[in-house]
């Protein structure tokens, strides 16, 4: 279970990205966060796995306080939280297999990492996962030979081989076309359910959130202004979430 309480982050540039954010993601739950760009969605996720240092607040994963960890302990904690990125962030010049296996980097020695000699279980798991995301036989292709949808599938596989306690997913479909977006989102939610892994998913596209979510949070200028089910997401609620964001609501509704 992930418990976030009172998270505050002000960037050195003076941007008040988070002004006190609290949320919980229970054992096998999938929580969606919507909100205009600049609302602070990415910052929430990055504060959870400490890619960004929060200024105040608490983050607990299965009871372990993440914000107080240092050095090696942070890395230990990051292995438990797998991240999926908007821009995929694959290592473009490495093969698909190396990209997937990089999810295991926290568990192998530097020498094994250098020689690309991962334990057989990891390799087996990587093959399996590739098959599950629909990329069987792609292991020797280079990441830069793949299409956007295929890249994100590799990103998903990389996250799954980590055997994480939670998936942190940051706008996984924003770089994809509508049809691929739906397929990728279906894949993420299906795999999370099968593996019984909870997930926190940022998303820009309200229609997709409605389609796949049980619980949705709405973020605006660094604070949550909405929490509810897709049914609760009325026109008024949307206006509140996208307040001050100009035309963005129209684009988020996919109009």
């Amino acid at each position: 279970m992930l418990e976030v309480v009172g998270l505050v982050k002000t960037y050195p540039t003076g941007d008040h990205a988070l002004r006190g954010v609290s949320l919980t993601v229970k054992a096998t739950e999938v929580v969606f966060v919507i909100g205009p760009s600049g609302a602070g969605k990415s910052t929430v996720i990055r504060c959870i796995n400490r890619l960004v240092e929060p200024d105040a607040g608490s983050v607990r994963l299965d009871g372990v306080e993440i914000t107080r960890l240092t050095g090696a302990e942070i890395r230990q904690a990051r292995r438990q939280m797998a991240m999926i990125f908007q821009e995929f962030n694959l290592i473009e010049r490495l093969t698909v297999m190396e990209n997937v296996l990089s999810g295991r980097l926290g568990y192998v020695s530097l020498w094994q990492a250098w020689r690309r000699r991962f334990p057989p279980e990891d390799v087996e798991r990587a093959f399996e996962t590739l098959a599950r995301v629909g990329l069987a036989g792609f292991e020797n292709k280079r990441a830069d030979e793949l299409s956007g949808g295929q890249r994100q599938r590799v990103g998903i596989a990389r996250a799954l081989v980590q055997r994480p306690k939670i998936l942190l997913v940051d706008e996984p479909t924003s770089s994809l076309d509508p049809k691929t977006s739906e397929a990728v989102m279906a894949l993420i939610t299906r795999l999370a359910a099968e593996e019984r892994i909870p997930a926190l998913i940022n998303i820009h596209d309200v229609a997709l959130a409605r389609q796949f979510a049980q619980r949705i949070l709405g973020l605006n200028q660094g604070v949550f202004v909405f929490a509810g089910t897709p049914a609760d997401l009325t026109r008024e609620a949307l206006d509140l979430i996208y307040r001050g964001a100009g035309e963005e609501l129209t684009s988020a509704l996919g109009a």
């Binding site: 990051r78 980097l105 926290g106």
Partner: protein
């Protein structure tokens, strides 16, 4: 009928002034050349005479330049290798995204500038004082001279890396060195390989002349032949240098296309 003046009167005056200024500077430079016209008038004959003596080249001398030629290639290769080893730390210091603080960044940039603004021949003169004449001084000169060029391009490669890929590896819980190995090395490898090959090619050309100041290689034989007025040997040596430079350029171009 209307006239269409391309320039306003003010522009015309400015352009005229600019041209006069440029002409004055060039004239000043020309006077500074201290040209002795009797020599210049004589030069076509001189050149014809020179080429007459150089060609046909003295093929019998070919056996004696194989050794110095290999030495030249060795100087270039070793100098390049040394330069790469020195350049990697300098580049990480001189790249904005990997340096520690402003002081280390400035240090990296300083090393770069000094290395690049002193020519390899001058570096050779300096190293000859320290280690004596010969190939070692040559290799050191090539290395020190190359560091600026190589580390500058390395640093640019490092500055261009995609942060997202680094972040993705960091997010898996990998440590510093694994992030370097998986997040950074694959991104900078093609740049590093390309620059290395390119600089090796340049260094071959530079190594052909280091011998003129006593730092080993085929330049030494060239200088001896010139001082001894053995022009047919000079002709041969120039042909060989031409060949080596063309071949190394071709190799370098081929390899760079392969690593890109």
């Amino acid at each position: 009928m209307r006239a269409w003046p391309r320039f306003t009167p003010r522009q015309i005056v400015l352009r005229l002034a600019g041209r006069l200024g440029a002409a004055t500077i060039l004239l000043w430079a020309l006077v500074g050349m201290g040209i002795r016209w009797e020599f210049v008038g004589d030069s076509p004959a001189q050149v014809r005479d020179l080429f007459g003596r150089m060609f046909p080249p003295d093929w019998a001398f070919a056996g004696e330049i194989v050794g110095p030629l290999i030495q030249t290639i060795n100087i270039a290769t070793l100098g390049t290798t040394l330069a790469i080893l020195l350049s990697i730390p300098v580049a990480f210091l001189a790249a904005r995204n990997t340096t520690y603080n402003r002081a280390t960044y400035a240090l990296g940039r300083l090393v770069m500038s000094v290395s690049r603004s002193v020519d390899s021949l001058i570096w050779a003169l300096i190293f000859i004082i320290v280690v004596g004449p010969g190939s070692l001084a040559g290799a050191l000169a090539v290395a020190v001279r190359s560091v600026g060029f190589v580390s500058k391009l390395f640093a640019e490669g490092i500055e261009e890396i995609d942060r997202g890929q680094v972040e993705a590896i960091t997010a898996t819980g990998a440590g510093r060195f694994k992030v370097l190995l998986y997040g950074i090395v694959p991104q900078i490898r093609p740049v590093f390989a390309g620059v290395t090959i390119y600089r090796w090619d340049i260094n071959i050309r530079e190594s052909t002349v280091l011998g003129i100041v006593g730092a080993g290689g085929i330049g030494f034989v060239l200088n001896t032949a010139i001082l001894g007025l053995e022009w047919s040997r000079v002709g041969l040596i120039l042909l060989v240098i031409l060949g080596v430079v063309v071949v190394s350029e071709a190799i370098s171009a081929y390899l760079r296309r392969r690593v890109a």
